[in-house]
Subunit: 556 residues, 2 copies
């Protein structure tokens, strides 16, 4: 069958890779303290869920439709196998994982197709419209906002269109710094094909190892180095999108004044306007020098103030990130035995800081990245150093940054590890103007804690600031609580709802870079105002009046 | 009546200000050579056209409608006077000026209203929809793409809604670098109100002195310093837009992943989705140091190559601009008597360059701007200096840049001066990837020259590159020809059409920052593909099914 690889159907990442805590002496005590979960008590059953025990609805695809799809893309690229259908049902939100483990699958795709060309995509889209089927495009399946799931009440056949075979860099325009890339290309494949030629796209979301370019565009993704490279909306210059009967072509342009931006309508459209097949992206020559340095701030307010000042300074680092005290504690708790976060974050340093009057409970770890020529990196570091110092921060050096670089894609494995042991963890992120960030932070933490009280658990919430822009930044929260297999989804909803509402109430958006899907759709009218939500409805309706294209996402 | 000031109804700028050529000894010979026009022959009649001789259609506004509007905004803010109606009919394109001078006014607004509040705007919009009238928002009236004109065949009453009374900076968020500003605020008023508090928005389009914030947003404007401050799409963070029955509110956010960007739908919407009443914009502290330096390159290819390399370098200047040899010649021709472009561009320098083997006919003048701390400006200048030198360029110094800064808003006056004397001049600009710019330039010049041959005139076309982005830049063409009052509009259309088609055929967009309006709408399907144009149609139709909001603009 297909050669397209997927993550395991019931969790993050590939089989056989998992988070290991025995070599991290501080982790178990940390988890016990944070969410009252005792890791020393081995859970009864942490084997993978059993696919054969899942009850799936029968496939609604007709024999004639199946024959037609097979004719279009070839026998090897159409499947109604259980594993494939389940793999293509959800993304990887905590809600998704809980449902899969629980066997709560109201509706799955009836067939999965793997087209190899844009012409095949066109024929599949047209077939879906002609036959009044539902079409859901699928990239890497990493989405955590419910952008992929079929509507439970859907009675029409559902086709999952997996772009995984369309995974090549087609053309590099070295003079312009542009590359034309197929939408199904996974992050590592994309960077490898570009890297071989000395280029990078510079887009590294947390999901990087398992997500695709098309998925990034469809969900308005943002990567860790967006301060330098821009988010996907900025990186995306040209597009090819298969819509019913024809292909939308946005030519690669550095700028244009052609009315409301159609390019920006495709960005974040989550399959509701068609299937993205090709993206022309900005690429950059691999920098001569690249450094991510670690810093420590005495507290969250000092860290925030420093990031704010960097954003309006002459400095332009590639990464700006500061964790609150809780996330800093989490980072320290995942240190390996005998390994300091770096030589710098030693017990000796802690003693020095204590003598200086720092409250070690309030420490905030920060990472700031620099790229360019050796001289430019030196110049930028110096600009930042003065600002860090002004706000009482100290430089730790390269060690923590190197570690951050190595570990940055591993966090989802910790989530699965915790889930196996009875704790649910997820992330919610937002963005707001600098002047709102303090209240937004305090309001969100307070809302989460109130929700934990409501559901009667000792919950955890931690945060970092990242993705600095001129007028504001992203606050990225991670939250966790012990679910004890006692209505975990219901309890998750209480916490998630509290956090989302706190975002909106404090001037934040419903999500900075995880899209809307179904998870965040309840807040879209509060975010965009009813008139804005109706513009989205009008746009979707005009392209897709019968709601064949991933219906029910973004706006209900 | 109203206190809102407008430009003269028949040309650019204010009464009494005009281009003066007698103190510029090289100008008359230059014009003779360029477009075969003899300035020594004084034209028969260069008095202002006579408003009283214009034949205007009768106002279609009913007494009841007029009474209602008067009730809404007050007697002083509603008018059906001839001058007001004519002033609100067109923008300031060469087509507009030719039509006004010719008395070709098929349709004018039937009434002009000046609301003072958003609530009044809401009532006017609702009245227009209820009464099936047409509503055309009006800012400064500088548009050159036909975005303002009523459709000749329109039989419904037309209301021109002038935002001129809504001209205040409402709020400055110094911490976030954001200002909330009323949409009718003119450029100089905006910068003065911000400047008093030590801030700038940094948006300086050629039209700056007479255009408004709302107009900039509605037409996706871009300013001369967009390399640093971004174009208006980037500067615009929050919006309030009156749509039928309610107000669309986009909260100011540094970034978001809330589906297709509604913010980017309003940008460039030219009144077709509603009336922009407030914009929250990014602002920056006035820089400690600001320099615009002049450079000379031996030819156009060298200048282009230098700009291209700067764009992918570690340098980030605030202005990057290089003129082709013809535009350089034009700049030199507008020098005042006894005044060099600077001390540096002297006859002595020319001799030196000649001895170095430069072809003085091919000289290209360039301006590069720097802002920030004194040290940062020094650092940036040094980075740029190395690149300029590599491409054979030389630094002229501050003189030409200072002059450029002083004269940058004056060019439209030259256009009117030429028009009075029988020559038509206009501008067309585009943007494309760096790899396409050479062919785009050559193709456009060739197309214009072919068009001049077709209409049998000696025409002129000159160009500069500006608004550098990572993957490409804007090419800004100015063209002129002697019309001899012999079907000037028809001949203009031949030239304009040739230039626009050359843009599209060579990978450029129909306009980089002058919007679509009616002038560029014929190319929108070639620019966005038919599917893209239909998305715009679908969006407009969903908000405005009866086509009451500035119909016929962007897409027909």
């Amino acid at each position: 069958m297909t050669t397209v690889k997927h993550m395991k159907w019931w969790g993050w990442g590939v089989e056989g890779v998992q988070f290991e805590y025995h070599n991290k002496p501080n982790f178990a005590p940390f988890v016990k303290e944070a969410v009252d979960l005792d890791l020393e008590v081995e859970p009864a059953d942490i084997d993978a869920p059993d696919l054969d025990r899942l009850r799936l609805p029968d496939s609604l695809i007709s024999a004639a439709q199946l024959a037609r799809l097979t004719e279009l893309v070839g026998d090897a690229h159409v499947t109604t196998e259980r594993l494939e259908r389940v793999t293509h049902t959800y993304g990887k939100s905590i809600r998704d994982l809980l449902r899969l483990r629980d066997g709560s699958i109201a509706r799955v795709p009836d067939v999965v197709v793997y087209p190899g060309t844009e012409a095949e995509v066109q024929q599949i889209v047209d077939l879906a419209v002609d036959q009044d089927a539902v079409l859901i495009p699928f990239g890497g399946g990493t989405n955590i906002s419910g952008s992929l799931e079929p509507l439970p009440e859907e009675t029409r056949p559902i086709i999952s269109l997996d772009l995984g075979r369309m995974n090549r860099v087609l053309e590099v325009d070295e003079q312009s710094g542009l590359a034309r890339v197929q939408a199904g290309t996974l992050g590592p494949d994309l960077e490898e094909q570009l890297g071989d030629r000395g280029w990078t796209m510079g887009h590294f979301p947390d999901s990087f190892t398992h997500s695709t370019l098309g998925g990034w565009v469809a969900t308005r993704s943002s990567g860790m180095q967006s301060d330098k490279y821009g988010d996907i909306a900025e990186i995306t210059r040209g597009l090819r999108v298969v819509v019913p009967r024809r292909t939308l072509v946005i030519r690669p342009l550095p700028g244009t004044s052609t009315g409301p931006s159609v390019r920006e309508m495709i960005l974040g459209s989550e399959g509701r306007l068609g299937v993205i097949t090709e993206v022309t992206v900005q690429i950059h020559r691999l920098p001569t020098e690249r450094q991510v340095l670690g810093y420590l701030f005495p507290d969250w307010q000092a860290g925030l103030a420093a990031m704010e000042e960097i954003a309006s300074s002459d400095a332009s680092p590639s990464v700006t990130r500061v964790s609150d005290a809780r996330e800093t504690g989490f980072s320290f708790a995942t240190r390996k035995k005998g390994k300091k976060v770096s030589g710098a974050v030693s017990a000796a340093l802690m003693k020095v800081l204590e003598r200086k009057g720092w409250d070690l409970e309030k420490l905030c770890l920060s990472f700031i990245g620099y790229e360019g020529s050796k001289r430019h990196v030196g110049y930028e570091k110096n600009l930042v150093r003065q600002i860090v110092r002004k706000h009482g921060g100290i430089l730790l050096g390269k060690g923590p940054g190197t570690l951050y670089d190595q570990k940055k894609f591993d966090t989802p494995y910790i989530r699965d590890f915790l889930l196996d042991r009875g704790a649910a963890a997820d992330v919610s992120e937002t963005a707001a103007p600098w002047s709102r960030l303090r209240d937004l932070y305090a309001g969100t933490v307070a809302a989460a804690n109130a929700a934990y009280r409501e559901i009667g658990v000792r919950g955890w919430i931690m945060c970092h600031l990242s993705h600095s822009e001129h007028s504001g930044a992203c606050l990225y929260f991670t939250f966790a609580f012990r679910h004890d297999d006692n209505d975990p989804i219901g309890r998750y909803e209480v916490v998630k709802t509290a956090i989302q509402q706190a975002f909106i109430d404090n001037g934040g958006t419903l999500s900075h870079h995880h899209a809307v899907g179904r998870e965040h759709a309840p807040w879209i009218e509060q975010d965009l105002s009813p008139a804005g939500a109706d513009m989205l409805r009008g746009l979707f309706e005009s392209v897709d009046p019968k709601r064949n294209l991933n219906p029910g996402k973004i706006v209900f």
